[in-house]
């Protein structure tokens, strides 16, 4: 009688100890606030991290955000004579979602023309990376970075035109 009780107790205890809770095993090894694996991938397999020559007239540089806010993105684009973006680089001081947003932005602008790149929306970036609501501002800053880079490129093109007219 006592032995059976002890056996049941032992099984109950081992059931409690060795069996996992209802959450499947895979999720246990991921952090609870859940970096989506796409976000982590941008950090672990970086693409387009770096700098272009910002003095070149074909390079537009956008620097947005502020260190005091914990988010600074630098996005650079290299545009060819036909107005197509042939290369892009980024550097970011910010959380994982910010790094992923700016990295994705550089991937998306490549191959687009300057006008097409203006149509990239922060909502698309957020959707692609499955950003939670609290991280949406990271995608907004990435969109701002793209626009700032394009604006800087346009600014670099204009004085040339102005000078040509003056002459």
């Amino acid at each position: 009688m006592a032995a059976a009780g002890a056996g049941r107790l032992r099984r109950a205890a081992s059931a409690l100890l060795l069996r996992s809770p209802r959450v499947p095993a895979r999720e246990l090894s991921a952090p609870a606030r859940l970096y989506h694996k796409k976000v982590v991938d941008h950090y672990e397999n970086p693409r387009n991290v770096g700098s272009l020559d910002k003095t070149s007239k074909n390079v537009g540089t956008g620097l947005v955000g502020a260190p005091a806010c914990g988010d600074v993105m630098k996005l650079q684009i290299q545009v060819d004579e036909q107005g197509k973006i042939v290369d892009a680089r980024f550097k970011t001081f910010g959380c994982g979602s910010a790094i992923a947003s700016s990295s994705l932005a550089t991937e998306w602008v490549k191959g687009k023309t300057v006008e097409e790149a203006l149509t990239i929306k922060n909502t698309d970036i957020a959707k692609e990376l499955c950003l939670p609501p609290v991280k949406l501002h990271c995608s907004m800053l990435a969109e701002d970075a793209i626009k700032a880079a394009l604006a800087d490129y346009k600014l670099k093109q204009e004085p040339k035109k102005g000078e040509a007219e003056k002459k």
Binding site: L18, R19, P24, Y35, Y43, S51, A68, V134
Partner: protein, 406 residues
């Protein structure tokens, strides 16, 4: 006994399992043998053999958030969870008597850790409840000029030790009540409520390797400090906190306090040694690292470092196999950086770059070495990705730049 065999079995299963081995230190406690078969709370005799999958979990370096149960504490609690399940307030039978005896033993253990009388310890559900009881006392005060000073003993974010004895001296000479939240300090640094002239103290179980869901409040009897009960009911705990005292939990708290009293000196030496190892290695390998908090009046187990030009949450994401915490805004729900760092005058960009390393009784040298190695590697990597680091390398003064406000 059952637990240790279970752990050993789990560890053996993982060691036997084939598969890639990461260089993370594999300790028995961190391995988990997972059963993928459908779950049932009621064990069935016909259950099939578990399909086991071994999963390595992150190293735990966040002891300020919570601590694992010391096995000695669990040993003390188990009988009260399984066999001695009486209500400690039952006066009429042996179950109640033995439960009450255990509760009073636990009370004595808590009291002797802080130099108090057992009659001055009231069990609560945690330090938060204790804080609420203590602060509510202010509203119950009779004299109009009575006031209360409430200070944390050891800060949970930066590990700074407040000058409790001096504050106690001032309060006692001005006839002002002195409360301290000692959740991070009890059992780690020597505390004596009489030497330090403390009137009220909050204690938390799960910060000292005890169970979660239990704590205590110390309330001075001489001179008497009157508090108002937060919850009313059957008048338990001298009317100051009604509700059945959870015997297994308080036994755990008592055991944790007793173990802490025995181990305090050794723990302090061990933790100081590991803390110095961690800070020295990191500071020697990386430039532009700032330690937040007064280096002299500092509890060694809580190390808060700011890595300039690297954002805290990105470092936490990179250090995915170490459980850490950050004072960065991105990790708080409100997107505001740590108020503690702001209060000590840390620059806002450094506040976003802070990481808290927690070292505790069970932290090993290997864990510290692994954490340090990964931290150095990823900080270097993140700095390569950082526009601020690039600007600083080019000799630009970041303070001179007009950033776009967002």
């Amino acid at each position: 006994m059952l637990l240790r065999t279970a752990w050993r079995r789990a560890a053996a299963a993982v060691r036997a399992a084939p598969g890639p081995r990461s260089e993370a230190p594999a300790r028995g406690l961190r391995l988990r043998v997972v059963d993928n078969a459908p779950q049932s709370a009621v064990p069935s005799d016909t259950a099939t053999a578990p399909e086991v999958e071994s999963v390595l979990r992150p190293l735990y370096m966040d002891v300020q958030a919570t601590t694992p149960l010391d096995p000695r504490v669990l040993d003390a609690m188990l009988p009260y969870l399984v066999n001695y399940y009486g209500n400690p307030h039952s006066r009429t039978h042996a179950y109640g008597w033995e439960s009450e005896a255990a509760m009073e033993r636990a009370r004595q253990q808590v009291a002797s850790l802080i130099g108090a009388d057992p009659r001055e310890i009231i069990f609560t559900s945690g330090a938060t409840e204790s804080n609420n009881i203590a602060i509510k006392e202010l509203e119950a005060a009779i004299q109009p000029d009575t006031s209360l000073v409430s200070v944390m003993t050891v800060n949970n974010e930066i590990g700074v030790k407040q000058p409790i004895a001096e504050i106690g001296q001032i309060c006692s000479s001005r006839r002002v009540y002195f409360h301290t939240d000692a959740a991070q300090a009890v059992g780690k640094i020597p505390l004596d409520v009489n030497d330090m002239k403390i009137d009220l103290m909050s204690i938390s179980g799960h910060k000292i390797y005890g169970p979660k869901g239990v704590g205590a409040i110390y309330i001075r009897r001489r001179p008497r400090v009157r508090v108002e009960a937060l919850q009313s009911g059957g008048g338990q705990e001298r009317g100051m906190r009604s509700g059945t005292v959870p015997t297994p939990l308080v036994v755990g708290l008592g055991a944790a306090c007793e173990v802490a009293q025995q181990e305090m000196e050794y723990d302090h030496k061990w933790i100081s040694k590991l803390a110095e190892r961690l800070t020295k290695k990191i500071m020697n390998s990386l430039p532009d690292v700032v330690m937040n908090g007064d280096p002299e009046h500092h509890y060694p187990g809580c190390i808060n470092l700011s890595f300039a030009y690297v954002e805290g949450e990105s470092l936490l994401m990179a250090l995915k196999d170490v459980a850490l915490s950050s004072g960065s805004a991105c990790t708080s729900a409100s997107l505001e950086p740590s108020y503690v760092l702001r209060a000590i005058g840390t620059d806002e960009d450094l506040a976003h770059s802070s990481i808290r390393f927690g070292i505790g009784r069970f932290t090993t040298e290997e864990e510290v070495d692994y954490t340090v190695e990964k931290c150095i590697h990823h900080v270097k990597r993140l700095r390569e990705m950082s526009p601020l680091w690039e600007m600083v390398q080019d000799g630009i003064d970041l303070k001179s730049i007009k950033w776009t406000q967002h």
